[in-house]
């Protein structure tokens, strides 16, 4: 007994070392990006406020570049808006034309039927059409309208600031300055100025942590914009500018420079959001699929302001998917 005690006392530092090592290994192994504890991640209030303070100080250094990207983005959106407006105007003329046609035919048939005298409201109708006012025409464009409506009502954006961001590990995370209080929930998607950035994983009261696209544990379904074929996007852990699009069928046609967008299969991102462009064909261990080297659109080395996507039907989608998996 005494000898055992002596042995223990002599070996005590080693035992303590062993204890801490076991704790660390347990933490390491259990470290699942989607089940991180709020207290042991940078989404807790203390760490968040320190990062928030430092980003308030250091945030000014990158303002010039941020401004430039914003200006470029504004220009782009302005162009898009102009194009859409023109399209809308063209469509409107077309619409009025078809409506005119329909009404004219109606009037014709009615006047042929009755053949006595035109009803008084025809004049008013014609007057309205000449003025260019739009009249509801059932079935003409309701489908398109509905799609737009879904887009408008299903998704909302919350503006947030990146207060900490790392790109040097294999598993990188982003800390945002918005949390539960501001309506952020796990599994919401995040987009930057140029492209998608990551998915929220851990939410504290005022801050939240998101898994970055630059995390080897994240797989994201993505498709080639032109051909609609999808694969799965992963980061290989070495260069923050490139990721790899895997599991793409061999018969898919693509060209260098093709745009890669979100597929919309995951509840975090709506379909069609920019991810990056095809840079090259990557080395592949699996001969049955293509792997493409993708140049990421978002600049991870300097992230500042991002938007968190609120998908109002996400819960329902996840619930149904969960049921289907059972």
């Amino acid at each position: 007994m005494r000898k055992l005690l002596q042995f223990l006392i002599k070996r005590f530092p080693f035992l303590i070392f062993l204890l801490y090592a076991v704790i660390s290994i347990v933490l390491l192994v259990r470290n699942n990006p989607y089940h991180q504890s709020v207290y042991f991640s940078s989404s807790n209030n203390f760490v968040g406020s320190i990062y928030s303070f430092s980003s308030n100080v250091f945030g000014y250094f990158g303002l010039r570049e941020v401004n430039q990207t914003l200006l470029a983005r504004t220009g782009q959106l302005e162009q898009q808006l102009q194009a859409l407006r023109e399209q809308l105007r063209a469509n409107e003329y077309e619409l009025i034309e078809t409506k005119n046609q329909i009404y004219r035919e109606k009037i014709k048939s009615k006047s042929q039927e009755k053949a006595v005298k035109p009803k008084p409201n025809v004049n008013i109708l014609q007057g309205a059409l000449i003025m260019g006012e739009t009249m509801p025409v059932p079935g003409a464009d309701s489908l398109e309208n509905k799609e737009n409506e879904i887009w408008e009502t299903q998704y909302e954006f919350i503006m947030a600031q990146v207060i900490n961001n790392n790109i040097s590990h294999y598993e990188n995370y982003i800390t945002l300055n918005k949390g539960e209080r501001d309506g952020i929930k796990p599994l919401m998607g995040i987009i930057g100025h140029n492209g998608i950035v990551g998915i929220v994983t851990t939410v504290g009261p005022k801050y939240s942590v998101a898994i970055s696209l630059l995390n080897t544990k994240l797989r994201l379904s993505a498709k080639i914009k032109e051909s609609e074929y999808f694969g799965s996007l992963v980061w290989k852990g070495n260069d923050s500018r490139y990721a790899v699009l895997e599991e793409l069928p061999l018969h898919v046609h693509f060209e260098i420079g093709d745009t890669i967008v979100t597929s919309g299969y995951s509840a975090a991102f709506p379909p069609g959001l920019m991810i990056g462009t095809v840079e090259d064909v990557a080395d592949n261990k699996n001969d049955n699929f293509y792997a493409l080297k993708i140049r990421l659109a978002a600049e991870f080395a300097r992230l500042s302001d991002v938007q968190v996507i609120v998908n109002k039907e996400q819960e329902e989608q996840l619930e149904i998917e969960g049921k289907a998996k059972k």
Binding site: F17, Y20, S42, N166, I167, S168, H169
Partner: protein, 169 residues
């Protein structure tokens, strides 16, 4: 006593510097200087090993919480703190160890450099192997180990040259 307070304050500053600046520095995407090792290295050799290892673990855990890498730094710093005394024993006789502080002034530049080199190398190898655990690209791993080792070594030496802490704490 005054020195202990000073040491604690400097430790806090170093930790903040580590998590806010150095962790995001990643020179060329590879090297991270681990300046915070200085805090553990500078703990007096006369301190009980149990306390040294505990402090090492807690400092590692703090850095982990900040960088969302739970367990990685904690594991490496625990090993670092555990090996500190045995490695020191390699370079100086056991009788001298209790009296001398782990610094350039306390050990002499030659011995200190040897000690620093060994310890930082052990740390860099262990932390990157822990990180790469299930993910192996040997070439990039070696580059990361080497560049981080070099930058950590230089930064700690430069920090020592500032002589912020009295020779013997």
């Amino acid at each position: 006593m005054n020195n202990v307070i000073k040491y604690i304050l400097i430790s806090i500053v170093i930790l903040l510097l580590q998590v806010l600046v150095l962790n995001n520095l990643n020179i060329k995407g590879y090297a991270i200087p681990f300046l915070y090792l200085w805090i553990i290295l500078r703990l007096p050799a006369s301190m009980s090993r149990i306390l040294t290892i505990t402090i090492g673990f807690l400092i590692g855990l703090t850095v982990d919480i900040f960088s969302n890498t739970l367990g990685m730094h904690a594991m490496a710093t625990t090993l670092f703190a555990y090996l500190k005394d045995p490695v020191t024993l390699l370079y100086i006789p056991k009788e001298d160890i209790k009296n001398s502080a782990i610094s350039i002034a306390g050990l002499g530049i030659a011995v200190y450099l040897k000690l620093l080199l060994t310890m930082v190398l052990i740390f860099c190898i262990s932390i990157y192997i822990i990180e790469a655990f299930s993910f192996v690209n040997v070439f990039i791993l070696l580059i990361k180990i080497f560049t981080s080792f070099l930058s950590t070594f230089i930064l700690i030496l430069a920090f020592d040259k500032l002589n912020l802490v009295n020779k013997n704490i």
